[in-house]
């Protein structure tokens, strides 16, 4: 399936491929592979994947990841990285949970708390990375340790949030007309998305516009392409890197809240390993860790691809636990190799 599609594409518009920027080509690859994969899943795994709700559930479950990955794409485009996002997500969730439950506070303030935590991490990490020129990996690794540690200091065990407003917000479902399906009791169930998905899609759209049409967005690419050159072209490199890191922090705050809204509880183990998922999604979506190349729409598809892989694996009904890990890895590997081979082919003309 994937092969056919690819062949058709590269045959028909072979020349066009060559003239595309790396960013656009990578985006195209991701989108094509994603659709190929999804269609293959429908064919081989049947009805579950045909339901719209299955797809919407991927969105529901990954709204937070989409937001986090967007943040990562931005720093990765500038040639940086942020591995604190998973930790920040957990911390945000825990702080909001404690605030809402023990302090009986209101949801708006919780949102502000979430943002404040994101901003704080963004500011500090941005400052250290941009102005003190410390390697972003270390800074954000420390950030991750800090966030994880703080989460257990705030509260070491998980609990559900019972705050009424919050529960209502969490339960709010935006029905998508016409996409529902009949359940096994014969009842028609509307397809729905959670609020988080709306937030995530908004983030994607806004960031897409920012990256594409604002000077700041283009500066991010320039800084990632070649920092020295960007400086000499008259871009304020330090400020750009600072804002990229800050933006990523803020998005981690927002993502953290969306995650919290999705699971409705605070726990130190929340979002563990989420930074790796976010990085992987970004890269699958065509962002280069080396900087200068990347795309927000690609990132969206990166998240979808990664979670579709997991979804396919989990509904394949594997009989041994280890196959879950191994199969996921094999599919990930295939995906990356296809991506890389296409890039190679085009380089050789």
């Amino acid at each position: 399936m994937a092969g056919e599609k690819k062949a058709a594409k590269s045959g028909g518009i072979g020349n066009k491929l060559k003239n595309m920027t790396d960013t656009n080509l990578l985006l195209l690859i991701t989108v094509v592979i994603f659709f190929a994969m999804y269609i293959a899943a429908i064919i081989f795994q049947g009805k579950g994947f045909l339901k719209a709700q299955t797809f919407l559930n991927i969105l529901n479950a990954n709204a937070a990841l989409i937001i986090l990955s967007c943040g990562l794409s931005i720093v990765m485009i500038t040639g940086g990285i942020d591995i604190s996002v998973g930790g920040v997500t957990a911390l945000v969730g825990m702080c909001c949970a404690v605030y809402l439950d023990f302090k009986g506070g209101n949801v708006a303030v919780a949102v502000i708390i979430a943002l404040a935590i994101g901003v704080a991490f963004g500011l500090v990490q941005g400052f250290l990375v941009a102005y003190l020129d410390i390697q972003p990996f270390i800074v954000t690794l420390a950030g991750m340790f800090f966030a994880r540690g703080m989460t257990t200091i705030v509260n070491s065990s998980p609990f559900n949030v019972a705050n009424e407003d919050f529960v209502a917000l969490k339960g709010t479902r935006i029905t998508v007309p016409g996409l529902g399906s009949v359940n096994k009791l014969g009842k028609y169930v509307d397809a729905y998305v959670e609020i988080g998905v709306v937030v995530a899609l908004l983030v994607v759209i806004i960031l897409f516009c920012v990256l594409r049409w604002t000077k700041f967005g283009r500066a991010l690419y320039a800084v990632g392409g070649n920092r020295q050159s960007a400086l000499m072209l008259g871009i304020n490199v330090k400020r750009t890197r600072f804002f990229a890191q800050l933006l990523c922090g803020i998005l981690a705050g927002i993502g953290g809240f969306v995650y919290f809204l999705h699971v409705g509880s605070g726990s130190p183990s929340h979002a563990s390993g989420e930074e790796m998922n976010a990085i992987a999604s970004s890269i699958i979506g065509g962002t280069m860790l080396t900087g200068g190349v990347g795309n927000i729409i690609g990132t969206l598809f990166g998240v979808l691809s990664l979670s579709t892989i997991k979804n396919i694996v989990s509904s394949a009904g594997l009989d041994q636990a280890w196959w879950t890990g191994i199969t996921t890895a094999v599919m990930l590997c295939l995906f990356l190799v296809i991506q890389s081979v296409i890039m190679k082919v085009r380089k050789q003309g």
Binding site: T21, R218, A222, Q228, S229, L233, I235, G292
Partner: protein, 495 residues
């Protein structure tokens, strides 16, 4: 600029330099490699902070503070730096406009249209939407120039803009410069081509070893005087150098290297090529005609896709650089920064690298040996470096080139390929290199020499392979070696 000082660890790059640029003049900034020209420019545009000194600009009260390239742009200074400083991942249009448009929003359509207009007016063979890294170096250089020229500026700085341009493009550039001068723009022009200086410049400032030698009016400063000022000594006449060595005499020996139908995936047409022992030959042609690709194919630097190769009569297989090296071929690449230097490594490591690879993984030179070797070549080629342990990236461009040359000489090759070895090299050194080439040849080394300066080729080569559109279209030797004959072969009678 008054009394500018700037030091790097171990180097005092500028020591009390004064520099004055008047409105509507083209001012040449001259000096040997490592004299401090680029550093002076970078101080002026705020890339480096200065240790001491002041900068004044007409119309501004007192000293101006320039802390970053943005500040420089704001006060009307636009710059083309020596190493092409554009972002390879962006499109041509973006490189043209980034960092200098007003407002927060980028209007792609307008930008692309403007860019296309500029590209067209300057005859640059690129599309606005093309990713910069897919353009050749020359085009990138032109884009950088176009960007600088397009800015509304009072001062335009060009640091060796012509080093990778061919004559027609240089002509275009000069026309531009004259137009700007007429509009009252002051231009600082750095180059190592004396002809170009005399063609467009009004005033000359000479630096030597970070110190100001003086500022001169062009008319009061004939060539010989200028060279003497730059080098601090008289230079022997350039026309003579070929005479110092007995030129290559001919056909008695078999070929050191001989290829039939050689082709690579870089897109050159299959070609035949040979070189004899002690011969100096060269590839000539216009920019982008495939000279570099040809020699890369010989060295196995690009993937070789066809052809047979014989060395000293024995048939060999050269598909990777290491094969070529084992067969005694050495190759000094054209793109010094990308393919030549290993930036963070010391001068010493850079010199021994190739030979070290040849010796093999298990046989490193001892530390003492490496110092000895490095010192020997630093002296031999007169490389200006603070020490053998200095990272090569902090050397001036010309000196980096010499280090790479040292690296290959140290492998004692039978056949040396030099692709633009004199690019960005000062006139004194240029002649030294040419002399060196002839000396090596007289000692029995075969050399292929590529240069964009035809007279340089004429001075050194005894046979020229002419290329057009990635195809070998002719071969000239002996009596045929004249400017006009080369030109007509390049142009090809048909058009």
């Amino acid at each position: 600029m008054r009394n500018i000082h700037k030091s790097f660890p171990g180097v005092r790059a500028l020591q009390g330099v004064d520099f004055t640029l008047r409105e509507g003049e083209i001012h040449a900034l001259m000096g040997e490699n490592g004299a401090g020209k680029s550093t002076l420019i970078k101080v002026l545009t705020g890339v480096y902070g200065k240790d001491e000194g002041q900068i004044f600009i007409k119309g501004k009260e007192g000293e101006v503070a320039i802390h970053s390239p943005q500040d420089a742009q704001k006060v009307g200074i636009s710059t083309v730096y020596q190493e092409i400083t554009l972002c390879p991942n962006l499109t041509v249009a973006e490189n043209m406009f980034i960092g200098r448009t007003a407002g927060a929003v980028q209007n792609w359509r307008k930008m692309n249209a403007d860019t296309d207009k500029i590209l067209k007016s300057l005859d640059i063979p690129a599309k606005a939407t093309q990713q910069l890294s897919t353009c050749s170096i020359a085009v990138q250089q032109m884009v950088a120039i176009a960007r600088a020229v397009d800015m509304e500026c009072k001062v335009l700085i060009l640091d060796e803009p012509t080093s990778s341009l061919d004559e027609s493009e240089v002509e275009k550039l000069f026309k531009l410069m004259r137009d700007l001068r007429a509009k009252g723009v002051g231009i600082i022009f750095v180059t190592h081509f004396l002809d170009q200086v005399y063609e467009v410049c009004d005033t000359i400032t000479v630096l030597r070893d970070g110190q100001l030698v003086g500022q001169f009016d062009i008319k009061e400063c004939p060539r010989v005087v200028l060279v003497a000022k730059m080098l601090g000594k008289e230079l022997d006449d350039t026309e003579e150098i070929k005479g110092d060595y007995s030129t290559y005499q001919g056909d008695e020996t078999e070929s050191v290297y001989e290829a039939k139908g050689l082709a690579s995936n870089a897109g050159i047409k299959p070609f035949d090529f040979y070189i004899k022992k002690g011969e100096v030959n060269g590839f000539t042609g216009l920019l982008g005609s495939g000279r570099s690709e040809s020699v890369r194919a010989i060295f196995g630097a690009d993937k070789v896709t066809g052809g047979t190769v014989k060395m000293k009569g024995k048939s060999v297989k050269i598909t990777k650089p290491i094969d070529a090296m084992r067969n005694g071929i050495a190759y000094l690449p054209e793109d010094r920064k990308g393919d030549g230097i290993v930036g963070d490594l010391s001068v010493r490591d850079n010199i021994i690298l190739a030979q070290q690879v040849l010796r093999g993984f298990m046989k490193p030179f001892s530390k003492a040996e490496t110092y000895k070797i490095a010192d020997e070549y630093i002296k031999l080629l007169d490389i200006k470096t603070a020490s053998a342990d200095t990272p090569i990236k902090s050397l001036s461009g010309g000196n980096q080139q010499k280090v790479i040359l040292a690296r290959w000489l140290f492998t004692h090759p039978d056949y040396l390929i030099l692709d633009e070895p004199t690019r960005g090299i000062d006139i004194g050194t240029k002649i030294d290199i040419q002399k060196l080439v002839l000396k090596l040849a007289s000692e029995g080394m075969s050399v292929t020499f590529i240069s964009s300066e035809t007279d340089e080729m004429l001075r050194t080569c005894s046979r020229l392979v002419v290329m057009r559109d990635r195809k070998v279209v002719g071969e000239l030797s002996g009596e045929e070696l004249t400017q006009s004959k080369i030109m007509s072969t390049i142009a090809g009678g048909d058009k």
